[in-house]
C-alpha cells in the first residue's frame, strides 16, 4: 500500500505503484485487447503521408474540431452589456454547457438562463417556455436587459423570437418597455464567432432600429466618438482593458461595445457580482451617433459592421492585432479617424517591443510554427510570427472559410518568411495531427486541446487561444497592442528556452550546451 496520511498520493502518482500497475495489467484479459503489434503498426501508419491523404479526403466526419456553436458567442456578447442576462431559448442542457465552458476558461461564474424546452415544446413550439421563462428571469435576477438567443432545437422547429417576445410582453412577462433584444443563433450555421456577430447585431438593431417596432428608430446625429468591438476572445479581460488604456492615452471618446472585461474578472471579496461592468444600455443606444466603429476581429463582426455601415458610420476592421505592425495599423487608424495624435508614451511602448524583439529574435528567427484557432487570432498570430522572422508553416482554422484562406495566403505571400506557409480552412485537429507528422514544425500554438497533439507528435505547445482550461489566469493579460505583443513574445520565448534546456540537460551527454546565459 503506497497511500499514507503524511504524503497523500492522488491520481498523479497513486496508480504508478506496483499494486495498481499489476491490477491494470491483469484487467487487460477482460478487455479483449488488440494485439500490441497491431496497435503499434496502426499508430505508425497514422503518421504517414498515405494516412494524411486519406485523412484529408474526409468529407463528413469531424475529429477534434477547433470551434464551438453559435449560442456560446451570443452568451459571450450578452454579458458584455450592463445588467444583462443571457436567455437561450431551447433545450436546457446547452446552457449548462456554455456556462461550464466559460467558467472553465475564465475561472469565473457565468450566468445564463434557458427556456428549458422539452418534448412537448418540440411538438407545440416553445412559446409558453418563453412566456414563463422571461417572467421568471425578470423577477428572480432583476436584469436591466434580457438578451435572447436560440439553441438548434428551437431553430429546427422554427420558433419565431420576435413574435414570441412580443406575445410574452403582451402577457405581462416583462414590462412592455423592458429591453429584450434577440438573435437567431442556429448551431448548424457557422460557429461561436458567427453567434457573436448575430447577437451583437441583434442588440444594436434593437436599440438603433426601434426596439422591434415598439419605439421610433433613432435618428443618427454624428458625433466624434468611436465604437470599439473586441470580438469573441479568450483574452477579452486583458485585451479590452488594454484597448481602453490606449484609447484613454489618446484621449479618444469611445464606447466599447459588449465590454465583458469586468464580468469575467470580478474580485473575491465576499460579494458575488452576477452582473458587473458592461456597456451601459444608454451607451449602446447612443453608439448609433458615433463617427466610426472599429472591430478588432473582422470575422466576428461581418454582419454587425455591415449593419453599422448602413447607418452611415465608417467601419474599420482588424484581425486580432498582435505585434508591432498590427498595433501600428490600429493606432494609425484611431488617430486618422479621431484626429488625435498618438502620444509619445505609446511610441515608447512600441520602441520597447521592437527592442525586445531585437534582443531575442535570434532564438525565434527561422523557427517553424503551426497555429490553429479562430480565423482572426490565427491571422494576428501568423502576422506576428512573420514579423519575428518565424514561419507560420501550417495555419488551420476549423471555422475559417475560403475568404479567410485567401487573406491568409496573401499575408504569407507578402513576407519572405511566408513562402512555404499554408492556410487550412474548415479542417480540424486530426488533420493538424497528420500535418505535424508529415511536415513537422518546431512549435504549435493553440488552445488546451493542443496538448493531445503535443503528446502524440512531440510538438511543444504554446497555449494561446480559447479555451484554455489547463493553465490559469493568462486571460487576464493582454495579447493585443505593444504590451500584448510583449506578452506573446515572452510566452513564445519561454517555451523555446525551456525546450532548449530540456534537450541539453543530460548529465555528461548533452549538457555542454546547458548554458546559463542565452
Amino acid at each position: 500500500m503506497a497511500q499514507s496520511a503524511e504524503h497523500v498520493l492522488d491520481h498523479l502518482e497513486l496508480f504508478r505503484g506496483p499494486e495498481y500497475q499489476q491490477m491494470l495489467a491483469d484487467k487487460k484479459m477482460f478487455e479483449n485487447p488488440r494485439d500490441p503489434a497491431e496497435v503499434e503498426r496502426i499508430k505508425e501508419w497514422t503518421k504517414t503521408a498515405e494516412y494524411r491523404e486519406k485523412n484529408f479526403a474526409r468529407e463528413a466526419l469531424a475529429v477534434n474540431p477547433a470551434k464551438a456553436c453559435q449560442p456560446l458567442g451570443a452568451v459571450f456578447v450578452s454579458v458584455g452589456f450592463e445588467g444583462t442576462l443571457p436567455f437561450v431559448h431551447g433545450s436546457q442542457g446547452c446552457v449548462a454547457y456554455y456556462r461550464s465552458h466559460l467558467s472553465r476558461h475564465f475561472k469565473e461564474p457565468s450566468s445564463c438562463v434557458s427556456s428549458s424546452m422539452t418534448e412537448d415544446a418540440a411538438v407545440f413550439g416553445g412559446l409558453n417556455n418563453m412566456i414563463d421563462g422571461l417572467a421568471n428571469s425578470y423577477n428572480m435576477y432583476k436584469p436591466k436587459m434580457i438578451a435572447v438567443s436560440t439553441t438548434c432545437m428551437a431553430e429546427v422547429i422554427g420558433d419565431d423570437l420576435n413574435a414570441f417576445i412580443k406575445t410574452s410582453k403582451e402577457k405581462g412577462s416583462v414590462p412592455a418597455e423592458f429591453d429584450v433584444p434577440f438573435a437567431h443563433t442556429p448551431a448548424f450555421v457557422g460557429s461561436h464567432v458567427t453567434g457573436y456577430d448575430n447577437a451583437l447585431k441583434g442588440i444594436l438593431e434593437h436599440f438603433w432600429d426601434g426596439k422591434a417596432g415598439t419605439a421610433p428608430k433613432l435618428e443618427r446625429k454624428p458625433n466624434e466618438a468611436m465604437n470599439i468591438i473586441g470580438g469573441f476572445d479568450g483574452y477579452t479581460v486583458g485585451n479590452l482593458r488594454e484597448i481602453k488604456r490606449i484609447l484613454a492615452l489618446m484621449g479618444i471618446k469611445h464606447t466599447l461595445l459588449a465590454d465583458n472585461s469586468e464580468v469575467f474578472d470580478t474580485p473575491t471579496d465576499g460579494e458575488f457580482r452576477m452582473y458587473d461592468g458592461g456597456t451601459t444600455l444608454e451607451d449602446a443606444a447612443n453608439a448609433v451617433h458615433a463617427k466610426a466603429t472599429i472591430s478588432m476581429q473582422q470575422w466576428c463582426t461581418e454582419k454587425t459592421l455591415s449593419f453599422v455601415s448602413a447607418h452611415g458610420q465608417d467601419v474599420v476592421s482588424f484581425n486580432y492585432p498582435v505585434g508591432v505592425s498590427a498595433t501600428d495599423d490600429v493606432l494609425v487608424a484611431l488617430s486618422r479617424i479621431s484626429g488625435k495624435e498618438i502620444p509619445e508614451e505609446l511610441a515608447r511602448e512600441r520602441g520597447r517591443l521592437v527592442d525586445a524583439i531585437a534582443d531575442s529574435s535570434a532564438h525565434i528567427h527561422g523557427k517553424k510554427f503551426a497555429i490553429y484557432g479562430d480565423p482572426d487570432p490565427c491571422y494576428g498570430l501568423a502576422a506576428f510570427l512573420l514579423e519575428l522572422g518565424a514561419e507560420p508553416t501550417h495555419v488551420l482554422s476549423t471555422n475559417g472559410n475560403k475568404a479567410w484562406q485567401e487573406k491568409m495566403q496573401a499575408l504569407f505571400a507578402s513576407s519572405p518568411f511566408g513562402q512555404v506557409c499554408q492556410a487550412y480552412p474548415g479542417r480540424d485537429l486530426w488533420h493538424m495531427r497528420s500535418l505535424l507528422f508529415t511536415d513537422p514544425v518546431d512549435f504549435l500554438i493553440g488552445n488546451t486541446h493542443g496538448k493531445y497533439l503535443e503528446r502524440d507528435t512531440g510538438t511543444p505547445l504554446i497555449r494561446i487561444g480559447f479555451p484554455i482550461f489547463d493553465r490559469h489566469h493568462h486571460h487576464r493579460s493582454p495579447v493585443w497592442g505593444y504590451q500584448g505583443g510583449l506578452n506573446v513574445l515572452v510566452k513564445i520565448l519561454d517555451k523555446i528556452f525551456d525546450e532548449i534546456d530540456k534537450k541539453t540537460n543530460v548529465l555528461g551527454k548533452t549538457d555542454y550546451s546547458f548554458d546559463i546565459i542565452r
Binding site: Y20, N32, Q92, F272
Partner: protein, 500 residues
C-alpha cells in the same frame, strides 16, 4: 462561521422553513407553487425527503441541470474506451463535453482507445434540411477507414436528430451488416427528451440492452474461464481513477472483477457482464436500469454499495461479501483490517482540522447522499443537500440512510435559491459543480467540485479517502479565506448583488 452547530434542531428547522418561505417570495405565483414542492426541511423518521423530483425544470430560473445527451454520451457511454462515440448533430454538444468528465482509462488514444477524442458529424444547414442519414453513412465509413482498431461505434443523438426524422437505427443495422456484424449502437438521447440527464442514462442503459445484450449469442462461451467470484462494477465512471481504487479492494478480498461500467471499460467487458455472479452498483441513479434487466434476464443479483469514507466502505465490503462464501467474507475482514492504520492516520491528521464544520451539497444523482458518510468520518456535518436529477427512490435512500433531522433539502435547485440558502446557512464548505464553484468562492465560501473532484481524485476506496480528506482540508482551511476583505474595510458578509 457555522450557525448550525450552535443551534438546536428546532431552531434550525424554523430557520430553514423560514428560508424556504423567503426564497419562494421572489417568484411569480405559478412558479412559487411549483418550486415549493421541491424544497423541504427533512423530518427524521419519514420515508423520503418530502420533495417532488424528476419533474421538468421551470423556464428561466437558471436550473443547473443538463440534458439526456449529457446523460448518455457524457456519463454512460463516453467512458467505454474502445468504441468511437459520435456526437451526431451540430458541433457544440461534443465540444463542450470533450474531456471534461475525467474518465480515466489506459489505452493508445486515437488508435485503440477514443475517450478523449471529439467525434462529431458537425451538422450544417443542409443536413438539417435534407436529413443527416447520408452523412452518417459516410461518417461510419470514414471512422472505419481512419480508426480501424475501433471495436464499435455509438451514435449519440443531439436535439435535431429526433426532430428531422432521421432513421439512425436503419443506418446502424445496414452498416453493421456491411461490416460483418460490427457493433453499432444508435442512441436516441436527444437533449430535449426528459427533464434532465436522467432520461439519458435510462436511454443509454436501454441501448446496451437492445444493441449489445440482445445481439449476444445465447450460449456464447465467455472469453475467459468463469469463477464463482466474478463480479462487475456497475456505475463507476472512473473519475480521477475511482473505479481503480475500488477494484483493488474487491480483488484484495478475493473477488474477480470481470467488467467496469463504464469507466475504463470496454465493449468486451459489457458483453461479458451477463456471466457475472453479482453486479455491484455504485451509481444507482444512472445504472439501476441495466442492473434490473440483468437480474430479470440473466438472474444476476445486484447490490448497491458506497465506497466513500471508511465507515461506508467497511459496511459495503461486508455487504458484498455476504453474497459469497466464507473465503470472501474473511477477505473483506482482512481488507478492512489492512487499511485500518491508514484510516486511523488520515482521521488523526484531518479530523481535528475539520471537526464540526458544516457542508452543503448539490450534486447529481448519487453523491448528494453517498458522500455524507465520508464527511461524517471526518467529523463534518452535511446541513443541506439536493439532487440535480435524482428520483424519489434516491430521496428515499437519502432519508432512510443518510441525512439528519432538519437538513435543508432542495431538488433541482437553481442559482438564485442555492445562493440564498448558502448565504443564510453559511456552511463552511459547499460541494457542487463548476457552474457553482466561482459563485460561492466570490462569496468567500470554500468550495469543492463534487462531480470532477476538482481535478483531483480518486475519492473512492481507502486510497481515495485520504485524498478526499486532504482536499476538504485544503479547501476549508486555505489561508486565503482570511484575506477576503481589505484591512481598511469593514468585515464583509457574503451577500448577493444580483438579487438585491
Amino acid at each position: 462561521m457555522s450557525l448550525a452547530t450552535t443551534q438546536s434542531i428546532a431552531e434550525i428547522r424554523a430557520r430553514n422553513k423560514e428560508l424556504i418561505e423567503e426564497v419562494l417570495k421572489v417568484y411569480p405565483e405559478k412558479t412559487a407553487k411549483r418550486r415549493a414542492k421541491h424544497l423541504n426541511v427533512h423530518q427524521v423518521g419519514k420515508s423520503d425527503c418530502g420533495v417532488k423530483s424528476n419533474i421538468k425544470s421551470i423556464p428561466g430560473v437558471m436550473t443547473i441541470r443538463g440534458c439526456a445527451y449529457a446523460g448518455s454520451k457524457g456519463v454512460v457511454w463516453g467512458p467505454i474506451k474502445d468504441m468511437v462515440h459520435l456526437s451526431h448533430g451540430p458541433v457544440g454538444c461534443g465540444q463542450y463535453s470533450w474531456g471534461s468528465r475525467r474518465n480515466y482509462y489506459v489505452g493508445t488514444t486515437g488508435i485503440d482507445s477514443f475517450v478523449t477524442l471529439q467525434f462529431t458529424s458537425d451538422f450544417q444547414e443542409k443536413d438539417i434540411v435534407f436529413g443527416g442519414d447520408k452523412k452518417l453513412i459516410k461518417i461510419l465509413d470514414e471512422i472505419q477507414e481512419l480508426f480501424p482498431l475501433n471495436n464499435g461505434i455509438t451514435i449519440q443523438s443531439e436535439c435535431p436528430i429526433g426532430l428531422i426524422g432521421d432513421d439512425i437505427e436503419a443506418v446502424s443495422r445496414a452498416k453493421s451488416k456491411e461490416y460483418g456484424g460490427k457493433t453499432i449502437v444508435p442512441v436516441r438521447c436527444e437533449g430535449f427528451r426528459g427533464v434532465s440527464q436522467s432520461l439519458g442514462h435510462h436511454i443509454a442503459n436501454d441501448a446496451v440492452r437492445d444493441w449489445i445484450f440482445d445481439k449476444l449469442e445465447p450460449d456464447g462461451k465467455p472469453k475467459f474461464e468463469p469463477t464463482p467470484y466474478d463480479v462487475a462494477i456497475i456505475g463507476d465512471y472512473n473519475i480521477g481513477g475511482d473505479a481503480w481504487s475500488s477494484r483493488i479492494l474487491l480483488e484484495e478480498m478475493g473477488l474477480r472483477v470481470i467488467a467496469q461500467w463504464s469507466g475504463d471499460g470496454s465493449l468486451a467487458e459489457l458483453e461479458a457482464t451477463p456471466k457475472a455472479k453479482l453486479n455491484i452498483l455504485h451509481c444507482y441513479r444512472s445504472m439501476n436500469y441495466i442492473s434490473r434487466h440483468m437480474e430479470e434476464k440473466f438472474g444476476i443479483p445486484w447490490c448497491e454499495y458506497n465506497f466513500f469514507g471508511p465507515s461506508k466502505i467497511a459496511e459495503s465490503l461486508r455487504k458484498i461479501a455476504g453474497y459469497f462464501d466464507d473465503k470472501i467474507k474473511e477477505g473483506a475482514e482482512r481488507v478492512i483490517e489492512k487499511y485500518q492504520p491508514l484510516v486511523n492516520a488520515v482521521i488523526a491528521k484531518y479530523r481535528q482540522r475539520l471537526e464540526g464544520r458544516t457542508v452543503m451539497l448539490y450534486v447529481g444523482g448519487l453523491r448528494p447522499r453517498h458522500v455524507i458518510g465520508a464527511y461524517e468520518d471526518l467529523g463534518m456535518e452535511v446541513v443541506g443537500t439536493g439532487y440535480e436529477f435524482g428520483h424519489n427512490d434516491d430521496y428515499q435512500r437519502t432519508a432512510q440512510h443518510y441525512v439528519k433531522d432538519s437538513t435543508l433539502i432542495y431538488d433541482d435547485v437553481n442559482g438564485y435559491e442555492f445562493e440564498r440558502f448558502v448565504e443564510k446557512v453559511q456552511p463552511d464548505l459547499v460541494g457542487s459543480g463548476i457552474k457553482e464553484k466561482y459563485v460561492f468562492q466570490k462569496m468567500g465560501v470554500p468550495f469543492r467540485q463534487m462531480h470532477s473532484w476538482d481535478y483531483s481524485g480518486p475519492y473512492h476506496g481507502y486510497d481515495g479517502f485520504a485524498i478526499f480528506a486532504r482536499d476538504m482540508d485544503m479547501a476549508v482551511n486555505s489561508p486565503i479565506w482570511k484575506k477576503m476583505k481589505a484591512p481598511w474595510k469593514e468585515a464583509a458578509k457574503p451577500k448577493l448583488l444580483a438579487a438585491e
